[in-house]
């Protein structure tokens, strides 16, 4: 559980005629993490792809272009197609599709282009259709320049003032003016200025003949003709799509797998008559591989265990029981642990829901999160990561409900019973009597929450340092010993916090009378703070260990471990903050709902309350709580031991979604 799966280094050797079945066998088993062969020499060269590769990849290319042409990207067939059906029909289907689709798709594209061309002509001519000037007269003069376009203001007056030899046609449109200006070439520059002052935008008219209005109406008739053709062709394409879509997608998948398999020997070492496959497999699966190769290849390939070189590290395959599995998501977001590192998933499984539940600590919101998590797991099918997140939310919500029910005794920010300090506070007593009383009152026992947070922090960090000790032990006893120093400092700091708290909280009272009862209870007073002598001694011994083991610079990090411990105060802070927020909304809005005497005001108040609780307390609360709970793990906990950077175990295998191997 705390260690990744044990790996064995294996070599599979076989004669060339056993290559095909061996590759097939390896993909079926899906347990070999292949090590690519990278240094070809005299005897061994890179392997050649299987003979089926080139044919399969050609077909695959065709299918993929078909998928693009028929816009089948993202199409999901409902039923899986058997592979023998795919293979028997593929050749025929490709020919049929080639004949039908290619021509139709090309025609469709041509028609679409023609329609676009007509439409842009209409757009260009539309402003001038009432001016009654034939389009061919817009150009082709030697001494006259023509401007056609639109302006923001009417240029008639400024043209009169500033131009001499010109003819101007203006038509008022919606918000703009359509303008055609004929002007002698020597006044071209001035005309440009006049027009640009009026906010001129040029429109290039198409090379046609006739009045704009006539051309436009002709274009419109043509477009409607084209659209009829387009609809016909689209119907044809749709028919092809309906008939072949499932088949195309399934055979694309099948061929991709074919090509993947056929190209795998490129990663093997091969001589003229034999091949060598090098890789890692889970130690427990060795027998399975051996038996499979024997039965499939019938003695044409053999598998051996070899001793890995010093510098070769096996890939990491996390091995956790089923309920712990979803929490591997948090590890995959950082990096895979190295093969010889401790896998912290189990600790995340314990601490994340605990921290999360402690901070939310409310039966109502907890139940909501539990239901939300279940809903994600139930409804989301496509994304495994999202499903894992759903499981995590479910676990967190469950623990939050338990905390809410038995420890804080409240639901939706409303306590089961009014606190002794504020007997008038609204509570569930007005609805019904719940025979559970809070062990800790969020609003009034903040000391208790803080003491519990410190206890959680000390325990969590200590486990982190223990893991660090275990990780370092094999490489360097000195570095492992440094962790002992840190553990002593941490214990000293924890004792000091508990000594300051004294008997003020039940937690510190309990810890002082059990864990720390072995130490003498001597204390000195420095600047008004009571310092426990055993705590000081522990910290000093720890500090003395650091320079010998980690070097003098480690001393600068001693304050760091103090802030690490204090950092867990966020558990209390968020619990109080969330409780306070819910209480504030309730206190503000309950009088409106229950005491206003006006049904409209009461309903409005209820809506505001529900929205505020749902958004601020439930949604944002769960989000920030989740981030804080994972942050305590990533920052405080992981940095005590986790290095990461391992290679993830990725065996040769494939996944069929739309096709299935026939019996």
């Amino acid at each position: 559980m705390l260690r990744p799966e044990e790996m064995t280094r294996t070599v599979i050797v076989g004669s060339m005629d056993g290559l095909d079945p061996t590759v097939e066998c390896l993909y079926e088993l899906g347990i070999l993490h292949l090590i690519d062969f990278t240094n070809p020499g005299e005897d061994f060269k890179l392997g050649q792809p299987l003979p089926s590769a080139s044919d399969a990849s050609q077909k695959l290319l065709k299918l993929r272009s078909m998928i693009r042409a028929l816009e089948l990207e993202g199409h999901k067939p409902e039923a899986k197609l058997p592979t023998d059906e795919i293979e028997s029909k593929l050749q025929q289907a490709l020919v049929t599709l080639d004949l039908n689709t290619a021509a139709k798709v090309e025609t469709k594209q041509k028609i679409v282009a023609l329609i676009r061309e007509r439409e842009s002509e209409i757009r260009a001519l539309e402003p001038f259709q009432t001016l009654e000037i034939p389009v061919e007269e817009f150009e082709g003069y030697e001494s006259i320049s023509v401007f056609s376009g639109t302006t923001k203001v009417d240029p008639t007056e400024s043209a009169q003032e500033r131009l001499k030899g010109y003819e101007l046609f203006v038509d008022r449109l919606k918000g703009t003016f359509a303008v055609i200006l004929f002007v002698s070439n020597d006044e071209k520059a001035e005309a440009t200025k006049v027009l640009s002052d009026a906010g001129f935008q040029e429109i290039k008219v198409p090379k046609r003949t006739g009045h704009p209005a006539t051309i436009i109406s002709k274009d419109r008739t043509e477009i409607s003709e084209f659209e009829k053709d387009l609809a016909r062709i689209e119907d044809d394409i749709e028919a092809i799509r309906k008939k072949f879509a499932d088949f195309i997608v399934a055979s694309e998948e099948n061929l991709s797998i074919e090509v993947l398999k056929a190209e795998t020997p490129l990663r093997f070492a091969a001589s003229a008559n034999s091949f060598v496959v090098d890789g890692w497999i889970p130690a427990a699966k060795f027998g399975e591989l051996q038996a499979a190769l024997e039965s499939v290849c019938g003695g044409r390939s053999f598998v051996e265990v070899i001793q890995p070189e010093e510098d070769e590290t096996p890939p990491t395959k996390l091995k956790n029981p089923k309920p712990v599995g979803p929490f591997e998501l948090f590890i995959s977001m950082v990096s895979s642990p190295k093969y010889d590192e401790i896998d912290p998933t189990l600790m995340l499984f314990i601490t994340f829901p605990l921290f999360f539940g402690f901070m939310i600590g409310d039966l109502g919101f907890g139940a909501g999160l539990t239901a939300g998590g279940l809903l994600i797991v139930w409804k989301v099918k496509g994304s495994p990561d999202l499903r894992r997140l759903g499981m995590i939310i479910f676990a967190g919500g469950l623990v939050a409900s338990i905390f809410g029910l038995f420890v804080f005794a409240e639901a939706f920010g409303i306590p089961f019973h009014p606190p002794v300090e504020t007997p008038d506070e609204p509570s569930w007593e007005s609805v019904g009597y719940i025979p559970i009383h809070p062990a800790i009152d969020k609003m009034h026992d903040v000391n208790e929450l803080l003491a519990l947070s410190m206890l959680a922090g000390w325990a969590h960090l200590s486990v982190g340092l223990f893991f660090g000790f275990a990780n370092a032990y094999h490489h360097s006893k000195k570095h492992a010993f440094a962790k002992v120093g840190w553990l002593l400092i941490l214990l000293g700091l924890f004792e000091e916090t508990m000594a300051i708290a004294g008997d003020a909280t039940a937690t510190s009272g309990f810890i002082n009378s059990t864990l720390f009862s072995i130490f003498p209870a001597n204390a000195i007073e420095v600047a008004g703070i009571s310092l426990a002598i055993p705590a000081i001694v522990l910290i000093l011994i720890g500090i003395a260990i650091l320079p010998i083991t980690e070097g003098p610079f480690a001393l600068t990090e001693v304050t760091g471990i103090f802030t690490n411990l204090i950092s867990y105060a966020r558990l209390a802070a968020l619990a109080v903050g969330k409780g306070g927020m819910a209480l504030a909304f309730n206190t503000m809005l309950f009088p409106l709902i229950f005491e206003s005497g006006n049904i409209a005001v009461a309903i409005l108040g209820l809506i505001v309350l529900v929205v505020a609780q749902l958004f601020f307390v439930f949604f944002l609360g769960a989000l920030s709580t989740g981030i804080q709970a994972i942050r305590l793990n990533y920052v405080e906990f992981f940095l005590k031991f986790f290095e990461g950077g391992g290679t993830e175990f990725s065996p040769l295998r494939y996944q069929r979604k739309y096709s299935m191997v026939s019996e």
Binding site: S567, R570, R631, Y634, V635
Partner: protein, 73 residues
Amino acid sequence: MDIGTGLALVGAGIAIGVAGLGTGVAQGQVGAAAVGATAEDPKMFVRGMIFMVLPETIVILGFVIAFFLFGKA
């Protein structure tokens, strides 16, 4: 309520308020850089988040001090 208590409460407010401001300023800058880094390489997400939340310790310290002052008042 005597003046001493009032001052202690004001102090508690200042402790958490100013610590919050400090965290905000630091986190804003780190956060902007972290978002940039994550946009370029999604693998930077966790490292970005770790840097992003480091300044939060400041406001937690503020919270603890404010809490002790609150207890004294």
